[in-house]
Symmetry: C2
Subunit: 337 residues, 2 copies
């Protein structure tokens, strides 16, 4: 049986929640690398909330995928054929590719990974794009000082969990917000946050006020919606807000109004939107800094693994509903690590 390249292409754009009906599985013969190209088989595929933007034709930082095109995404693969001197079969590589079992990539778009370091999947999560996002946001915007109060939404997610652990390392009081008792327990017990509030609870504002008696100095925004509305009135003078994601509204066509911005002046707040791809140099910097922490167990993470490329659309829908617990990954092929 000849091995084929299977790929999920966008069939039609979702109105609200995306699902399997918006994609179609295609099958083609394996391509042959031209000079400078590398062919890989996919091992791990990353599923991230920002991908919702790629399914809309609204202009955003996430360039829309066109109908009939393979859905894009970061993946880790094993080289099976190479026409580039820097790569040989058996090498493990990280790159921006697609929802597909095999990828043909220009060599300069790939990063070679250590086979004997942290688990390969971590290069898509705690050591990958979400981890770098947390690191960049906390370093460039958050600038947390010891004793400050930091609130992290989507605290059990791959960005929030790293952001909060970095704030703890900086000596802050760190309060997570997450969906459900199980996640909250993990955020407190395993990640070591000082407290974690279930945003599905009855009284988010009251719980937040009880957990942050000194107000909020830094807010890492991953969700928007009611959590944002509860946090903003509690911001302290000179607070910093890192705008990383607003997943609560990614499936919404007409986002609701936001807060009156008078507080910006009264409190001299700094708010900044970040996008990890604006700072590509930070990826290698973060891998070098944090890989030892992953190996020695002082930087904790959690993964939700779904098997089979065909389940990627469901995995994305689950992430947008907050149904994942930690980093969402699709295992597309055998992990030799």
């Amino acid at each position: 049986m000849t091995e084929m390249r299977r790929a999920l292409v966008l069939r039609r754009r979702p109105d609200g929640e995306p699902g399997p009906s918006h994609f179609e599985m295609t099958e083609h013969a394996l391509p042959v690398p031209a000079a400078g190209e590398v062919l890989t088989r996919t091992i791990w595929l990353s599923i991230d909330p920002y991908m919702r933007g790629r399914l809309s034709d609204r202009a955003s930082y996430a360039k829309p995928v066109q109908i009939g095109e393979v859905m894009t995404g970061e993946s880790i693969g094993e080289v099976i054929a190479s026409a580039a001197p820097a790569f040989a079969p058996g090498d493990i590589v990280l790159g921006s590719r697609g929802w597909e079992t095999h990828s043909l990539s220009p060599a300069q778009q790939l990063v070679k990974l250590e086979r004997h370091g942290p688990p390969l999947s971590t290069y898509l999560g705690v050591l990958g794009m979400p981890g770098v996002t947390a690191y960049t946001g906390m370093t460039d915007v958050g600038r947390v000082k010891a004793g400050e109060t930091v609130v992290i939404s989507a605290a059990s997610g791959p960005v929030g969990s790293v952001a909060g652990q970095l704030a703890k390392r900086a000596g802050a009081r760190v309060i997570g917000v997450a969906g459900g008792a199980e996640k909250c327990l993990w955020v407190q017990e395993t990640l070591g946050f000082d407290d974690c509030i279930d945003h599905r609870g009855m009284d988010l504002r009251g719980a937040l006020q009880a957990a942050c008696p000194q107000g909020i100095d830094v807010y890492f925004e991953n969700v928007g919606g009611g959590v944002q509305a509860a946090v903003i009135p509690m911001l302290n003078v000179f607070a910093r807000v890192i705008f990383c994601g607003m997943v609560a509204q990614y499936n919404v066509d007409r986002p609701p109004p936001g807060p009156n911005l008078g507080f910006m002046i009264a409190k001299r707040v700094l708010m900044q939107g970040i996008l990890v791809s604006d700072r590509p140099e930070r990826f290698a910097e973060w891998r070098k800094l944090a890989a030892p922490w992953v190996e020695d167990g002082t930087l904790r993470y959690r993964e939700t693994v779904v098997d089979g490329l065909e389940n990627a659309p469901d995995a994305l829908a689950q992430v947008l509903r907050g149904g994942n617990f930690g980093k969402m990954l699709v295992r597309v092929g055998h992990d030799p690590g």
Copy 2:
């Protein structure tokens, strides 16, 4: 006739627009300076939109004036008695004092001004708090680059007029927004902005789009309301928004909702609230930098002068309605300059 110290004290807090009925004129014998104190007669009193905050008991950066207290404000005066070695009668000084004909101040709170430099009143406007505010906002947050598009609201006001002229010096395309044809004409013809839009016009959004075909890189926010709502969708990637004032809502008890903040991420916007008193070192820096520009006429400004301390409440109401044209000043006493 013995000279008396007259002062306006807060009688009751306004609900909406403040006016004369909220203040009361009091009269007392002139105080005698104790060691380290200086007695001045007031020449110029500054009237600024932020003063509305002092009349509310809501916590804000502007500390509320209590009922029965003299209304606070910046003024320029002439020393008439001094018990501090650094000051002598006849000296002209600048300081944070009150709505009063005479002030007793600790010497260390006063700045001595040159009698033979720029007109004394400019130290409350273009060379004073509003000018420093514009300078700080443009330097610390705006960081305008040549060729960028900069929008300035309340462009004919003492902050906006300086902010826009600084952006012109940096080589930007500068669009003002002001209330009424007369102000717009002055902003374009005298200040040299590239365009100025009357926010009272029929189609603010359309006019702004026509004036900013490349989108908006920097917005200097002085007003809030409809101008803010029109600007935000036009912000470019990496835009900076300086939150300096939102005068459109200072008389409003329950400010309306603001924009959904999803754009912060999509456009990686930086928004920062500024307050000039957070950077006191900038006052002297700005006076040194800009006084030559005022003297050689390359930094333009305009003033609205109201005579008589008793008219200060009306002057404040006028500022909050946008009824002033340029810096609002009350002439309390004779200017020897």
